[in-house]
Symmetry: C2
Subunit: 323 residues, 2 copies
């Protein structure tokens, strides 16, 4: 491992790039970092790994990859309503590629600056390309938004638009195409896949308003399913309300809905709001969030079709629409 010295790589490419925070008493360069949590707050932590060929395409733009590697963790903090503070980076690289490291570290650093999150430790090793990032944030004691907490009659909201990342993934892997999409649409979709915007500010503002939340990394149905299962509840969705980008609004509506329901990688928030906060949420986050359904005591997640039939949203795959 002489050629890829942990110390010099982290020092050279990463240490100075991220914000320097006062609550980092000791940063990179010792056996441990020493970190101070503010009084009356708890620490929220989450770790995620991205592996080449599984989570991203070989040859993906390193700056985008740096962005996405951190965005994934920030999205988890957002889902708890936590304020980002620190992160660590375990980077496994097949070889020392200065251009790649420069791009990757820039993408990481730009997002880190935006959210005032400091790199406080890391490990670089030789091996197949993989990135593990652990994020740490603060949230006031007893204020974190968890997956539990949803009750019958609560409303289901999502941020932003859904399905863009899934559409981009299928375009890029030649699993699907639609000539109606112009160059601008394609660039937009690719950016949504490669450089997701974690909803950090929204998450923090939802503290005290949302009673449950999750970030959409595995797809709306799967992630909302984690909430309903955890609470022993079900859900009914209005598929016509699923928020679609202008790009996805052009394509077959049913296919766009399937993308919105099943695509991972959107990193939007799905959150649950009790009746006493409907009005405030609708007014305060107008244009940012969309009400898509309601928590029910059904066993599963359903929608009502044009003939007023209650249909379970289970096993409806996009394959049906593209084959």
């Amino acid at each position: 491992m002489a050629a890829l010295s942990e110390f010099s790589l982290i020092e050279r490419y990463f240490k100075q790039l991220t914000p320097q925070r006062e609550d980092v008493l000791l940063g990179i360069g010792d056996d441990c970092a020493l970190l101070q949590c503010p009084a009356d707050h708890v620490i929220a932590v989450s770790i995620d790994t991205l592996v080449e060929g599984i989570h991203f395409f070989t040859g993906v733009d390193p700056e985008s990859l740096g962005h996405k590697s951190l965005a994934v963790g920030l999205s988890d903090l957002a889902a708890m309503g936590a304020t980002p503070a620190w992160f660590t980076l375990a980077l496994t690289l097949p070889k020392l590629d200065e251009d790649w490291l420069h791009g990757f570290s820039q993408g990481l650093a730009n997002l880190a600056k935006q959210y005032d999150i400091q790199l406080v430790g890391g490990d670089t090793t030789k091996g197949p390309l993989a990135i593990s990032i652990q994020v740490h944030g603060f949230v006031e004691a007893n204020k974190a938004i968890q997956r539990s907490g949803a009750q019958l009659g609560d409303m289901i909201y999502v941020s932003g638009c859904l399905g863009d990342a899934g559409a981009a993934l299928r375009l890029q892997s030649n699993q699907w195409n639609d000539e109606i999409l112009n160059e601008q649409d394609r660039v937009y979709l690719q950016q949504r896949l490669e450089q997701p915007n974690p909803r950090v500010q929204l998450g923090q503002e939802l503290v005290g308003l949302a009673c449950a939340a999750i970030d959409i990394s595995d797809g709306l149905l799967a992630d909302l399913g984690h909430i309903t299962e955890k609470n022993g509840m079900g859900a009914r969705l209005d598929l016509t309300k699923l928020p679609l980008s202008s790009a996805l609004s052009k394509i077959n509506q049913q296919l766009a809905q399937v993308f919105a329901l099943e695509s991972g990688d959107d990193y939007e928030l799905c959150f649950i709001v009790p009746s006493q906060h409907f009005a405030e949420v609708e007014q305060r986050f107008k244009g940012q969030v969309t009400r898509i359904g309601m928590i029910t005591d059904d066993d599963g997640i359903y929608y009502i079709d044009d003939n007023d039939n209650l249909i379970e949203l289970k096993g409806i795959g996009y394959d049906h629409f593209i084959n």
Copy 2:
């Protein structure tokens, strides 16, 4: 990734195995874990990755690998004098192998119980075998032992014996052998490589006594070098004082010294003690620690040979002795 669901793997193999701590307000199963740091303490964190073929042999006993993956991080906490509290696990696996997972999780859990450290989060992904573990511990504010803090005339100590892991590595990779080693010696050496004992308790007891410390993961010379460089100091070692196990005491003395100086993976502590604490350290840790030299204002790390020459310990490789 259907076959290797993150949720079920972590839930099934790891969640219940480690201690349940009161300061874990929310553990595995949400977007983040929620953790509470005790008042007047700071959090010490360290992340390390072990990659198959780089840090461990293909086919290594999974229980030993589970032990070692956590031991590496605990050793970093030990070097700061921190008390272990929580860890996270990012596990990348080529396939779902139940026997392997059972063994790995047992090795991890046994060590976790010993040090009351709880698994609070994780991510499992498909890919080439690699393990990243982040450990978190507590240390009283302003009490952590850092690498900086060594001064002229301070004494250099190490815990345990040195060189065993390096000898085992060379035995196992057929780079070296010595017929004088019996079966018991070989088993002992292999255990030192595969199941190192992090010096957690010693590290905590050194708070207030040691002015600097590091754990020996890259070899004594390299790691002591981090301390001397950080402090703008040098060191003189008495090579005859390097603590050797009974196994390594049997082999060529110079070669054993080279193993002790250059081998990584021992996970002993190297720590620096100022004059006012010599007596207490010698008495309190008798049999556990050995004084091996002194901090000097030399530029580098030296020893004095039989002819009273000052020789720099740089670039003395074990190749010299085995070719």
